[in-house]
């Protein structure tokens, strides 16, 4: 600054006297609602939504946009950003989406911080309380070293696929939700590795490197169809709504939920591993929030609340489900081969009936949540039977 003495106007008596002389006795405007022009959508705007909604400067070709005109700079060749051609889905108002988790930046990072602190305390208590002594060695060396590590690549690949969904999303509240879902995926992979680093400290023979895990992911039969799905969604799928639906509403709600919840979380305890469930609880929460978001977006926003194009969107979601469900079935079927490597066998849990019950829980949960609302019919029994052939 140029002057030797910097004067802050708020606390300087002379300046404040001058300023207060200009302040009128009554406000010049009594209406203080933020973005009063905005349509309410399906519920009253939260404070965050009022702050964020219509921040996007887009173009008037995007239904619901506040803009008049178009983008000023375009891509080489003349294609504009925020293009409605980026997806086959159509909305009468892309700005009507509301994230049911109501997460904006402040509560989002606060929640993640608390989760981080919880994990740190849990890990400390786990090591210092002597829980390490209960760990089944074969579970540690076979499952956690190899397959739990392979899960990192699953999460990382799905995280990577969100870059273009974030870019392509056509409104501000959508972009926020999608990028938070992406950040959660990145976090989920890192938390697995954090646990593996701790295992490397607690067990001198445990190698936290990812060599064996990457081999399982890239070359192993257990993960092959899952990897193929992730690679396709990451690199070969260009429609951002298709990506979101395929990832969160189909793949992760069936395959991801089974791997995290039915396998790692429920089997770990049988092997004296009380830490994995703690870490995976966070990933389960992240999926729940992503599933709530994709449900609000695809089912509510694009179908139920969509006055014109609901049927059109339903057809696309139906088609995308049909496109990806067979690959998800293959992924789950291949994954069930992991039970051959599970060291501790417990009737009712790792036996055929127990595993089938887990598959049915996941498949039924998915069918109720995502298949039924779009009228997608499939033979649940046949699906479960096909999957169980991998056991």
């Amino acid at each position: 600054m140029s002057s030797n003495v910097f004067i802050r106007g708020m606390v300087d008596p002379e300046r404040q006297a001058q300023i207060q002389a200009l302040v009128p006795k009554a406000p010049l405007e009594t209406k203080r609602d933020h973005i009063p022009f905005a349509k309410r959508g399906w519920r009253r705007l939260t404070e965050y939504e009022a702050v964020m909604l219509h921040a996007q400067n887009s173009l008037d070709a995007i239904p619901g946009s506040q803009e008049v005109g178009e983008t000023v700079q375009k891509w080489p060749g003349g294609r504009g950003s925020y293009s409605i051609e980026s997806t086959a889905a159509i909305s009468s108002n892309w700005f009507n989406f509301r994230d049911p988790s109501k997460r904006w930046f402040q509560p989002y990072v606060k929640q993640k911080t608390e989760e981080g602190q919880t994990a740190e305390r849990a890990m400390k208590a786990w090591v210092e309380g002597g829980d390490t002594g209960m760990m089944n060695t074969a579970w540690l060396n076979q499952i956690l070293s190899k397959h739990y590590g392979a899960m990192i690549f699953n999460e990382y690949g799905l995280f990577s696929a969100h870059s273009t969904t974030t870019y392509g999303a056509l409104s501000d509240l959508l972009k926020t939700w999608i990028s938070q879902a992406a950040f959660d995926k990145n976090d989920a992979g890192q938390m697995i590795q954090m646990q593996r680093v701790l295992l490397g400290k607690a067990f001198p023979g445990f190698d936290p490197s990812l060599v064996e895990a990457k081999q399982a992911w890239t070359q192993g039969e257990v993960w092959k169809p899952a990897r193929e799905f992730v690679e396709h969604i990451w690199a070969d799928t260009y429609d951002w709504v298709e990506q979101l639906w395929a990832m969160h509403a189909v793949y992760d709600h069936i395959f991801g939920q089974f791997v995290r919840r039915e396998f790692f979380q429920r089997i770990a305890g049988l092997h004296g591993d009380t830490l994995t469930p703690v870490i995976q609880f966070q990933a389960l929460t992240y999926h729940q929030q992503a599933a709530d978001g994709v449900s609000a977006f695809c089912l509510k926003h694009l179908i139920d609340d969509e006055p014109v194009y609901g049927q059109h969107n339903r057809r696309y979601l139906h088609a995308w489900t049909g496109k990806y469900l067979p690959q998800v079935e293959k992924a789950l079927k291949a994954f069930l081969a992991i039970y051959k490597e599970v060291p501790v066998k417990v009737d009712g849990v790792t036996c055929r009936a127990g595993v089938q019950a887990g598959v049915e829980r996941v498949v039924n949960g998915w069918a109720d949540r995502f298949a039924e609302p779009i009228g997608y019919k499939f033979n649940r029994n046949a699906f479960v039977k096909n999957v169980m052939a991998g056991y």
């Binding site: 001058q18 400067n57 178009e70 981080g116 890990m123 972009k175």
Partner: protein, 529 residues
């Protein structure tokens, strides 16, 4: 060495095995990816980004959240606890309270564009560490949109004139200055090659202009009684260092391939000119014309931050990669003296379209301008005195600066490269007007650097400008349609003075009898000298 330090060092050397330092996780990030046949970016770059590039700040997701959560608590605590009690919203000089309606909203556009720009880089980069860094920037930019918007939100709740703070996202649709923000920030950050976007966003806008924009602006804000803006903007600035590092690492990631590095200098030159064309005049107007209490002339801040710090020191670090200062830097330096005065003249001439209350420079301000920009009065001050005498502030006068200019043959054009208006016959900055015809349409440019960008890729800058969009609209109808009227249904949100008396209404605006023209037609696209 104190005991405490010794203990810390011992723990670092032999960490307690029940804890994991985030860095112990981050060091494995490069192993998170794998190769497969179809693995390419969906938005590929003409450059060659090295998969082995590292990232400087090395934050894990949880560590990032911990750091940001702490900043959020401090910021919102200050705003909602400390500043509320001090009635901070009403301690601000009205000139500043008004200009923040534009500044916060326009910066919000930049932060929003940066979300997509960072997502583009996250797609294009192949190094997991770089992706991790770009992802953090995506989330940061969401934070910054929340924050800049919250400045408007906070003012809207606490300042005595919330009009404009609450609905600038609506009003900006007719603001002739807004396409300039869209060009530089809205699309310059995200519409194009990812590395080109990085150069615009991280290497120029953030590394070069956030210091004068965000840091200098907070000094001016505080001088004018505004403690809201510094609370928010300085918190934003704490993230910018990581973004500048992202930009540096982008360059590091492409340096190994001389075949593609040959594009860098041209992209840097274009990016600098693109960002400068908006930021240099706009920030200058905001600081000097939006304030009562001055800090230092904008040209001095500009020279220190842009010319010496960025072009000298920051680009000096990139000399090893063959990067030189932009060729257009001398013209930019001239603009730093005069471009904001040129833009202020047009902003005042077009005040009904801005959505804010503004006033002509008073005697004290005119003396300051003349003292710091010798020759200012003879060029601009005389016009303002004439406008004042003609009834600039008087709602019954029917006076409008834009008409005054047009009646005297001073055409206002839109620079098709920057999107900003300019007046060739009155500009003192580096304006060198050029006019062109392409595919049966006429275009105007304020100088050759932008014109060259358009000549090379005209399809990238194809859009309707303000005059083309609104030609034939009567001024009061346009303002009403854009939501520029207060809740009484007649008083304008924008005003040409700061008083609570003699406020202009729609009827007063109608009295001007101004129908938006297309100057390219009425002047036969030749300015009158």
């Amino acid at each position: 060495m104190g005991n405490n330090t010794a203990v810390k060092q011992a723990l670092k050397a032999n960490p307690v095995p029940s804890s994991v330092d985030p860095q112990e996780v981050h060091k494995w990030l490069q192993d998170f990816t794998w190769d497969f046949k179809s693995k390419t970016a969906k938005y590929p770059t003409k450059y060659d980004m090295d998969v082995n590039t590292r990232e400087q700040f090395k934050l894990t997701a949880k560590e990032y959240a911990r750091m940001e959560s702490s900043k959020e608590e401090r910021q919102y605590g200050t705003l909602l606890d400390g500043l509320d009690r001090l009635d901070a919203g009403n301690k601000v000089h009205p000139k500043w309270g008004e200009v923040m309606k534009l500044v916060a909203n326009f910066l919000e556009t930049g932060e929003y564009g940066a979300i997509s720009g960072s997502a583009l880089l996250w797609d294009t980069a192949q190094s997991p560490e770089q992706r991790n860094g770009y992802l953090a920037q995506v989330i940061d930019e969401i934070r910054h949109v929340n924050q800049t918007a919250y400045v408007n939100y906070y003012y809207g709740k606490h300042y005595y004139d919330p009009a404009g703070h609450t609905n600038m996202r609506q009003l900006r649709a007719i603001n002739p200055l807004y396409p300039g923000v869209k060009r530089a920030f809205g699309e310059g950050f995200l519409a194009g090659d990812a590395v080109e976007s990085s150069i615009n966003l991280q290497l120029v806008a953030e590394a070069c202009f956030t210091n004068p924009l965000i840091v200098s602006l907070t000094e001016w804000a505080a001088a004018n009684g505004d403690e809201i803006t510094p609370t928010v903007f300085l918190s934003i600035e704490t993230d910018e260092l990581r973004h500048m590092a992202n930009g540096y690492q982008t360059i590091v990631s492409i340096m190994n391939n001389p075949e593609t590095m040959k594009y860098l200098q041209t992209d840097l030159d274009n990016a600098f000119w693109t960002q400068h064309k908006f930021l240099t005049p706009f920030v200058g107007v905001a600081l000097e014309y939006g304030s009562k209490y001055k800090v230092e002339p904008w040209v001095k801040s500009w020279n220190r931050w842009v010319y010496e710090d960025w072009a000298g020191i920051w680009l000096g670090r990139l000399q090893q990669f063959g990067v030189k200062s932009p060729k257009c830097l001398p013209d930019a330096k001239k603009d730093a003296v005069w471009a904001h005065h040129d833009l202020a003249l047009l902003a005042l001439a077009l005040w009904p379209l801005t959505g804010i209350r503004m006033e002509l420079p008073d005697q004290q301000a005119m003396e300051w301008f003349e003292a710091n920009y010798p020759g200012w009065y003879n060029h601009y001050g005389k016009i303002y005195d004439e406008w004042r005498a003609a009834g600039f502030e008087d709602p019954k006068s029917g006076f409008c600066g834009a008409l005054w200019l047009m009646e005297r043959g001073h055409g206002i054009f839109v620079d098709h490269a920057s999107g900003l208006p300019f007046c060739p016959s009155l500009a003192k900055s580096s304006v060198n007007a050029r006019f062109a015809e392409y595919n049966g349409k006429r275009y105007s440019f304020s100088e050759p650097h932008g014109e060259r960008q358009w000549l090379l890729e005209p399809e990238r800058y194809e859009f309707q400008n303000f005059f083309e969009q609104f030609e034939g609209w009567e001024l009061s109808d346009l303002v009403k349609a854009a939501g520029g009227v207060r809740s009484d249904g007649k008083t304008l949100m924008a005003q040409p003075h700061l008083r609570d008396t003699d406020m202009w209404t729609l009827d007063d605006l109608k009295r001007i009898n101004l129908t938006i023209p297309d100057p390219m037609k009425i002047l036969n696209w030749q300015p009158i000298q």
